[in-house]
Amino acid sequence: MGIELQGITKTYDSKQAPVLSDINAEIQDGELFVIVGPSGCGKSTLLRMIAGIIPISAGVLKINGQVMNGVSPKDRNLSMVFQSYALYPFLTVADNVAFGLKARKMAPAEIEQRVNDALSMVDLTEYRDRKPRALSGGQRQRVALARAIASDSKICLMDEPLSNLDAQLRVQMRAEIRELQRKLNLTLIYVTHDQTEAMTMADHVMVLHDQQVQQIASPLTIYNQPANSFVAQFFGTPQINLLTANTAGTQASPRLTMTNELQLDLDKPLAAGTYTVGIRPNALSCRPVADDDGNATVINVETLGDQTIIEAVLDDDTEVRIVEAGQVHVALAQRVLVTALGPAFIFDETDTLIAEKRGLQDARVVAVN
């Protein structure tokens, strides 16, 4: 049955534009559904509407087929993990986990059982009598998880649960949350601004931007077939290169001219006009050439050990990022010839993906001499 969002809209002030408009989605039972977007895109608002903490302005929210609009949070039978963890500073770890169960007047024995189970599941049994301020960030995070586990609801909402942790811990917790979700067969709605979390954890990803859904798909689909240039830019590091292109060539061999120097051969002709071509940095390549040769000048080189990120300015002043595997030695101000190897995405004026070119065989971005 899952969770259905039908035309969900949020307006705070009738005079102002909605902060979320017409959100539609279907979240399956037992899946990990990630809502991702830049800050201020309304992702936390959406999560709070699902939780029932803030009212829905328009649209219908169904959980397991039941309309939930206006139903109070406690009757929605879900659990939630907050960005700040929302731990009660005056209660011990165990009492924090037991808080909701006590509020629901559950039998003490049952509470004890659930608290113990939840704490052992997150490895916090020995910390049960500590106050939150005596715990590290990662341990506090686990208390918040334990609280969600103890509630025994099949639906769990998480609002940027890892954003207060350091990078290493975040990687570890990502895996733990994923594992927990599978073990408990939770329907987990997970809000984050971090595309890596979305890519690594999700069964399905909803990309939110400009108050609207940009795309809902599996992580790989989002990477391989971004619905528009925003999605293309949001996923993948370093960021995708977006180049302006114009139609050129003949009917028989249609082309897109990105700059005077880079062109893309097309299978089918496109309507005459201006397009945006997206090429991921690892789908570009460059090689050093003589000073009066090539089509770009290197302006910055970052060596990461296993890969090298080269920033170069094409001769028409467009900047591109190129990722080369391994350790490449390129000098600053070196002239290079930039060529393309991999897939390219073609977006029309409304930034919508209209064509996608895969690999060397059928897509070539070539330097023109």
Partner: protein
């Protein structure tokens, strides 16, 4: 069936809202009723007040005219304004200097001195009026503005509060100032004071109000109408008037309270953040 739960939830919310507003209104009424009644009766003729009437067809400003012409209420207000303003500025100045010394200066017995100052916070002024009265009498300060200013130029509370505020100033700032060659006075004036602005304003408001509300001390030390501050002045009016002469007293009380209410409502925003922070910190 689905809509039933929805509607019930909405109905409950609306009912709760009405109850909340009713409660708020009742509480607001209780709070402002004494004001409203006092202000209202100040417009009634004394004949009607004496009868206990709450309504009259002869509303007028006569009581105010009488209060202004027959009492010294304006003089009292002016006295209080002068005294409280002096106390406020002096208090902030001396307390901030003292606090600065406890935070940024190193000297012998600093901690012991601080403990001594802290200890005086526990001693109520009310328990010390007898020797203090003798002191100001010997100093020849009786019946003078200075008697209501000099004992309140500084306070342990003010020093303590500003010390807490100055402790928040990053040490880097002082070190940077040392590198730039600022002396203590310059650092105090150019960095410390601007940095702790909110706490200074809070202390200023606190000391102004404290001075304004002084009652026992001016009552003991001031005897002339032209020096009397407002609390004592109202006391004087209250005791001089015959029992049923409420008209002039209510008008005088209104004259005193209206300016403070206006200041309070204008300063509302500041009060809420500033005073709260200052008092709770």
């Amino acid at each position: 069936m689905e809509n039933a739960t929805m509607n019930r939830a909405m109905f409950k919310r609306r009912l709760g809202k009405t109850a909340k507003y009713t409660m708020l209104l009742i509480l607001a009424l209780i709070i402002i009723f004494p004001f409203v009644l006092g202000l209202w009766t100040s417009f009634l003729p004394s004949m009607d007040i004496a009868k206990g009437a709450l309504w009259s067809s002869h509303l007028s400003l006569n009581n105010y005219v009488a209060a202004f012409t027959q009492t010294k209420i304006l003089q009292y207000l002016l006295n209080s304004l002068i005294i409280s303003t002096l106390v406020m500025f002096a208090h902030v100045f001396f307390c901030s200097l003292g606090a600065y010394a406890f935070v940024f200066l190193k000297f012998k017995y600093r901690d012991q001195l601080f403990y001594a100052v802290l200890a005086t916070m526990m001693l109520p002024f009310e328990a010390e009026v007898i020797p203090n009265f003798v002191t100001v009498k010997c100093l020849g300060l009786l019946n003078h503005y200075s008697v209501m200013v000099i004992p309140f130029l500084t306070s342990a509370f003010g020093i303590f509060m500003l010390r807490q505020a100055f402790l928040q100033i990053p040490r880097d700032l002082k070190e940077a100032a040392d590198v730039d060659g600022l002396n203590h006075w310059q650092f105090y004036w150019r960095v410390t004071l601007p940095y702790a602005k909110i706490s200074l304003f809070t202390l200023a408001a606190y000391s102004f109000l404290g001075s304004w509300n002084q009652y026992l001390w001016p009552m003991l030390t001031t005897f002339s109408d032209h020096l009397r501050p407002v609390q004592d002045g109202l006391r004087q009016l209250q005791s001089e008037e015959t029992f049923n002469d409420w008209d002039m007293i209510q008008a005088s009380a209104a004259i005193v309270v209206i300016p403070t209410l206006i200041v309070l409502f204008i300063g509302q925003h500041y009060f809420k953040s500033g005073l709260n922070e200052g008092a709770v910190k």
